[in-house]
Symmetry: C2
Subunit: 444 residues, 2 copies
């Protein structure tokens, strides 16, 4: 007999079916035993009158008959809660070891450390699984939106010849008898590809040798990157960001409402046009509102980011806000200086719920200007050979943006630590398992 997915069981009332799945709850009522079975499609209550020695996590094949569940025991929380399976035969496909903590509750009440030490088990909990259904939707929605706007998907390398974004926070790789580095972002390659396909996007891994442990950073993350040519100015890029973000929220509400409900989460409120505020203006607004004078600072502090988000929500009914025109010195060498004031750049961050979600801007597309900036920023032009080549042979006015997939997932669900939004998070202290203490100290 062919296996029936649990979600399809209500359609097979009074029929004999085969179910495959994991034991996700056991309620022993003496003479009879209720066993909840879960597969990729859902959860079903099954009833057995024989005394089987079953445990949480056991992998079973069951043969039984689908019956209407007695009305008072109907569980409206699960789609199959109106039926149950009268078990005729149980085959144990694989026994599970005893779980080290309770996996049966609505929440998984364990520390972050346990959550990660027992990652392969913890990921099976419905509330943890939900995070990665959201993450999947974030990535798929990003790709769909951009495909519809004529973007080509590209696959760019992560082994790179030099520390491209300048910083020291780069991982070095033993590359045959030489050295290579892990890419800090697909930035340079996506820019090159504007010269080829005009509009490109990529879902890439990015690596940062963060020398500290924060709740918002990891050593490896998924970067959703997009870049487009023939822009008039950098508002074209923010327009695309707006579309991508609004598509994402519709997708989540349409396809992931169950997962959002588990976290009591709502997609952010957005106004028809997301407000766009210059950084210097934002600082003035913050000064007015709080008396905090950061108007000379070259960037918004985490506190400032929270405050300006509060302002945008109150003033514009938007939980998202663009902050634009960051100072030239604070941005990478390729950022386009504003025509009105070259001390500032045609760049933006999209902040959401107090944290940066997306960063982007227009880039310099003149070969000569880039060459100058590479030197000004203290880099060597030999390290940018293939990149500079792209600008020699005709690069249109262009720009783009990048979204951290885990960051957005974390912010939408209101998670406290970005590690919760990564299947197998890496940081200074952990690659799957905890790194022994003596090896943890960063080099700087």
């Amino acid at each position: 007999m062919e296996r029936t997915l649990i979600i399809d069981s209500p359609k097979k009332l009074n029929e004999r079916i085969v179910i495959n799945g994991w034991v996700s709850a056991i309620r022993d009522h003496g003479k009879i035993m209720f066993i909840d079975i879960s597969d990729r499609s859902g959860t079903l209550q099954t009833v057995s009158s024989s005394k089987e020695s079953l445990a949480m996590g056991d992998v079973l094949e069951l043969v039984g008959v689908v019956k209407v569940r007695p009305e008072k025991t109907v569980n409206s929380k699960i789609p199959t809660g109106a039926v149950e399976l009268d078990i005729e035969k149980i085959t144990i496909l694989e026994k599970s070891h005893e779980f080290p903590f309770d996996m049966g509750g609505e929440d998984l009440n364990v520390s972050l450390e346990t959550l990660l030490d027992f990652r392969s088990l913890a990921l099976k909990h419905p509330k943890i699984k939900a995070i990665f259904k959201i993450q999947e939707a974030v990535v798929q929605s990003f790709r769909e939106s951009l495909k519809n706007l004529g973007f080509t998907e590209i696959f760019v390398p992560t082994l790179v010849p030099s520390a491209t974004e300048g910083g020291a926070e780069v991982f070095k790789v033993d590359y045959y008898d030489g050295k290579a580095y892990l890419s800090q972002s697909p930035q340079l390659y996506k820019q090159i590809m504007v010269g080829v396909f005009e509009r490109v996007f990529t879902v890439a891994h990015a690596y940062r040798a963060e020398p500290s442990v924060t709740t918002r950073h990891m050593s490896e993350y998924v970067s959703l990157d997009c870049e487009m040519g023939f822009i008039k100015d950098f508002s074209d890029i923010m327009d695309v960001v707006e579309m991508v973000v609004k598509d994402l929220f519709s997708t989540l509400n349409e396809k992931c409402s169950a997962e959002l409900t588990l976290y009591n989460a709502k997609t952010p409120l957005v106004s028809e046009n997301i407000p766009r505020i210059k950084m210097r203006e934002a600082q003035k607004i913050i000064l007015d509102r709080t008396g905090r004078d950061n108007t000379k600072e070259p960037d918004l502090s985490p506190e400032d980011e929270k405050e300006i988000c509060k302002y945008a929500e109150e003033e514009y009914k938007s939980e998202l806000v663009f902050i634009t025109h960051y100072p030239t010195k604070k941005r990478p060498f390729y950022t386009y200086p504003s025509k009105e004031d070259p001390e500032y750049t045609d760049s933006f961050d999209l902040l959401g719920r107090g944290l940066e979600w997306i960063t982007g801007g227009r880039r310099i597309n003149s070969y000569r200007q880039l060459l100058e900036n590479i030197e000004k920023w203290g880099n060597k032009k030999e390290d940018f050979d293939i990149y500079l080549q792209a600008f020699k042979y005709g690069m249109p006015p262009e720009g783009g943006f990048a979204i951290g997939a885990e960051r957005v997932t974390m912010q939408i669900l209101g998670l406290k630590n970005i590690r919760e939004a990564s299947l197998f998070p890496r940081d200074m202290q952990r690659v799957d398992i905890k790194i022994p203490k003596e090896k943890q100290d960063a080099k700087r």
Copy 2:
């Protein structure tokens, strides 16, 4: 005025439009000049009577009127070949340097070395661009097929704690004060995730420190990986492979016929059921056909792979063929030994046009058996902590497969070297630019 995409220009006959794009050909006829302009959507002939100093690669904005092209000059090869643009105004957005080789021919007649040394330029050639439209379709079709079969997309790390597949061909990373490695495949993580989502796939980067330069291997490549639980036996996996491959060929014929035509390429002929031949049988068939006795060899040689493909095409009208039951010793520790004969495994390769396209099989899902094998294969169980954990807590019978995106692209288009199918290929000798000779020698 809003920009018009070139593909839409025939709809705007006799209208004044704005076009953005690159100069892709110049034909100077004395009094008038024909300039082909290309954007992401296509190519358009434009006509100018003023003497502009233009060069290949220049980035232009043109204002002009769309006219019917004189019948005898209509170019049926390009969709916009029935109209042309009478230029009224040319704005040069960015000048190009002079091209170092001819980019105007139907083929790009340069050596592999030049193709890679001038990668950012060469990628703009229509025939090179086509390769990456095919690659995009390969990846997107893979994802679509599996989404339709209930698979969840996952994002797994590439920084890993140990050389997972055993071999020496692994890149070491300076990881803070310790060491990490670059993943040779997402294998272990996708298996873990079967315990969570039952059916998963991932588009991952994989890294092999190949100590030699061949036409079929690179140091970094894109691996399309899929894994599924609750299989009856490994034929279930081959069934999914068949679906994925057939979907891919329909997608390519539907969406990439222009690109296939550029290469005079056809998607492989496949029989309704792709033949499945045991490796030992294949060796006997080869002995019968060629007199070559490799029946004691533990694997098919490249010559054998070509011969068995020839056989499948002649006998079954299929350019693809499954070879099954490879010897246990030749496969990784997690491969499931066949019940009939544990010297052989429930594994397969899908060969196409003389080369391996896909490799897969059933995996061991018993914790104890895996533990035994890890030791038998000379690995340390401490290196597999999170992986083994997944098998402790109930892993269903499972298996999967992996497709090399560049390999398949290369085989479909009949490219001679896999580097042509990678945007920025990496090998022992090259990371963007050629590595100086003294650093090229491999460590082994």
